[in-house]
């Protein structure tokens, strides 16, 4: 659907029809005391040429480091057709058009996206996407409190193995809605949530347990046990998952049910960036969310449904909108969510190009590369792996000295060596979270290992400098 801006003549004619002198007249309801002519601290606009130059210069300053950081955003190869197609004029728009009569192509694409996400997660219904993974978790917490009608509290169990940024955002968004978030500790040896840690909450009134798979440390949680425990304690299960990993792992819709309890997570959410969206600080990325049909009316966001038109031909339209903000206002399921249409377009093309087999190859290669990276780095004196648990494509390493100076020295050699965990997990000591995806070659891993060995010479007593 084409977007045609108004000409000065169009605007003049429209103003004339409604009897206004200027566009500013349309805002005369706002008291003049509240209006500001200039925003302090915001510089004047730049031309396209000036902006292009400024951003190119800043990008050059960053360089093109060899990247081994994951921690929620992952560097995967994006086949060239993904953005060649996504940036076509039919798709490329700042706004997602939803009118059925004008937007069948866009609506069909979102419907295909939702179908793919349902297949990937083994859930019954997906929405059209949310802002990002962190706010998707916050929305999932709000949704769980609405959906778990047997629960009288507004409390959520949130393990510390969930991405700390997600936890912060979830707390931020939910704290003014009288929702209490209880942090659950992890097992220090395994880097996972254990039933032992959950025992303290047995029989208590919580709306949901959050389970991140793989967890923030890259470890695979015992999702079946955790799901069954939550359901036995009348909690919903909110799964936070990496979509790439789902190509290899049991989908959340099939978690649990070992002892005859309800099978599957109740709400699934996560960050969609690994599916064809480039790394960028601040995004745009996209969040995804899926659930089971009994909870569909509590799910925030747009949902596209398949339908028949008046002549019986198949078509697509938004559905279940009665609880959205343009109708329910302050009582809507959410007033801070939208669909990330363009990112979803790229993800849908990415998934369609790779197919199930291709996505599985990406996931398997990433897990393999990380295993090789960990093996190479742990041969260096003073480097060891922290946790003893199966993992996907990230791992926590322990260094014999503070992490920050080591990362700074690696950066000087053009290597982004990982994420320093000391601020979020001080109890882990000098801990470094590393990641390798299918984009890393033997030579890349070797380059990292050699640089690290060089930076961390063994101390004379053989124990390394502390």
């Amino acid at each position: 659907m084409p977007f045609i801006p108004h000409t000065a003549d169009d605007i003049a004619r429209m103003l004339q029809v409604i009897g206004a002198q200027s566009i500013d007249d349309l805002f005369d309801e706002i008291p003049s005391a509240l209006k500001t002519a200039a925003l302090p601290g915001v510089p004047p606009g730049l031309s396209e040429m000036e902006v292009a130059r400024l951003l190119t210069e800043r990008a050059l300053r960053d360089g093109r480091p060899l990247n081994f950081i994951g921690a929620g955003a992952y560097e995967h190869h994006i086949p060239a057709p993904v953005w060649a197609i996504a940036s076509r004029g039919e798709f490329y728009s700042a706004y997602t058009p939803y009118q059925s009569e004008a937007s069948q192509g866009t609506l069909q694409l979102i419907y295909e996206y939702q179908s793919m996400m349902c297949a990937l997660t083994a859930m019954e219904v997906s929405n059209a996407s949310l802002y990002d993974g962190a706010s998707a978790l916050a929305e999932a917490c709000l949704m769980a409190v609405r959906a778990n009608r047997g629960c009288e509290s507004r409390r959520i169990l949130l393990p510390r193995t969930v991405n700390p940024t997600y936890c912060q955002v979830a707390r931020n968004i939910t704290c003014n809605q009288q929702i209490e978030i209880e942090a659950v500790n992890f097992d220090r040896r395994e880097g996972r949530v254990t039933l032992r840690a959950l025992q303290a909450y047995e029989g208590q009134d919580f709306a949901a347990l959050v389970v991140q798979q793989p967890d923030f440390f890259g470890n695979l949680e015992e999702v079946d046990q955790l799901t069954d425990w939550a359901h036995a304690n009348k909690m919903l299960v909110i799964a936070v998952v990496n979509p790439t990993a789902l190509a290899l792992l049991k989908p959340p819709g099939e978690w649990g049910g070992l002892a005859g309890g309800t099978r599957g997570a109740d709400i699934v959410c996560g960050e969609g960036q690994p599916l064809g969206v480039s790394l960028a600080s601040g995004g745009p990325y996209f969040g995804f969310m899926a659930t089971r049909m009994p909870y569909v009316r509590q799910m925030p966001g747009r949902i596209v449904g398949g339908t028949l038109d008046i002549e019986g031909r198949p078509g697509f339209s938004l559905t279940l909108q009665a609880r959205e903000q343009h109708i329910r206002r302050s009582k809507a399921t959410s007033n801070i969510c939208t669909n990330q249409g363009l990112m979803v377009t790229a993800a849908t093309i990415y998934m369609a190009l790779l197919g199930a087999a291709g996505l599985k190859r990406v996931a398997a290669a990433s897990a393999q590369r990380t295993a090789e990276l960990v093996r190479a780095l742990c041969q260096i004196g003073g480097v060891s792996e922290v946790f003893d648990a199966p993992r996907f494509h990230e791992a926590v390493l322990k260094l014999d000295r503070p992490v920050a100076p080591v990362l700074a020295a690696l950066a000087e050699r053009g290597i982004s060596g990982g994420l320093d965990l000391c601020a979020s997990y001080p109890e882990l000591g000098h801990a470094l979270l590393v990641c390798a995806t299918e984009t890393k070659t033997d030579a890349d891993i070797d380059a990292y290992a050699r640089a690290l060995a060089d930076i961390m010479p063994p101390a004379r007593d053989g124990r390394g400098a502390i």
């Binding site: 009608r149 047997g150 009665a322 109708i327 009582k331």
Partner: protein
């Protein structure tokens, strides 16, 4: 003209209240309300044993156009909810004062009866609202 049975009490937010011999009160939405909402596609009734304060939103009726709250006309505890509405929300359109009832409440001993409208007052209220 919508139906306003003479043996019920009414609220300005378009709920009706029936006093049952057991002392419980039965609550639903009026013929006028169901007509204004249009074809209902989903009804969410409150959980049995939930405590309510008069005026609190306690049920949601959803048509293809909008989801609207139903407010409790009385303080008390839910004794029963009409579970048939989950499968057959259209009962609320076809029989709002009978098979389309929403919930039965055990009113708190201290709960005042009202301020509810009489049938005549509700009819006048609808007329004035145009």
């Amino acid at each position: 003209m919508s139906k306003i049975p003479g043996d019920l009490h009414y609220t300005r937010s378009h709920e009706w209240v029936r006093r049952l011999p057991s002392g419980q009160v039965e609550v639903g939405i009026t013929d006028h309300a169901q007509e204004a909402l249009g074809d209902l596609v989903f009804v969410e009734v409150p959980q049995v044993s939930r405590r309510l304060v008069a005026g609190e939103a306690c049920a949601v009726v959803e048509s293809v156009k909008a989801a609207s709250d139903v407010y409790s006309p009385v303080s008390g505890q839910i004794a029963a909810s009409n579970d048939d509405l989950a499968q057959r929300p259209e009962l609320l359109n076809s029989d709002p004062y009978g098979a389309g009832w929403l919930m039965r409440v055990v009113p708190d001993a201290s709960a005042a009866a009202g301020p509810w409208l009489t049938p005549a007052e509700y009819a006048q209220f609808l007329e004035e609202a145009g």
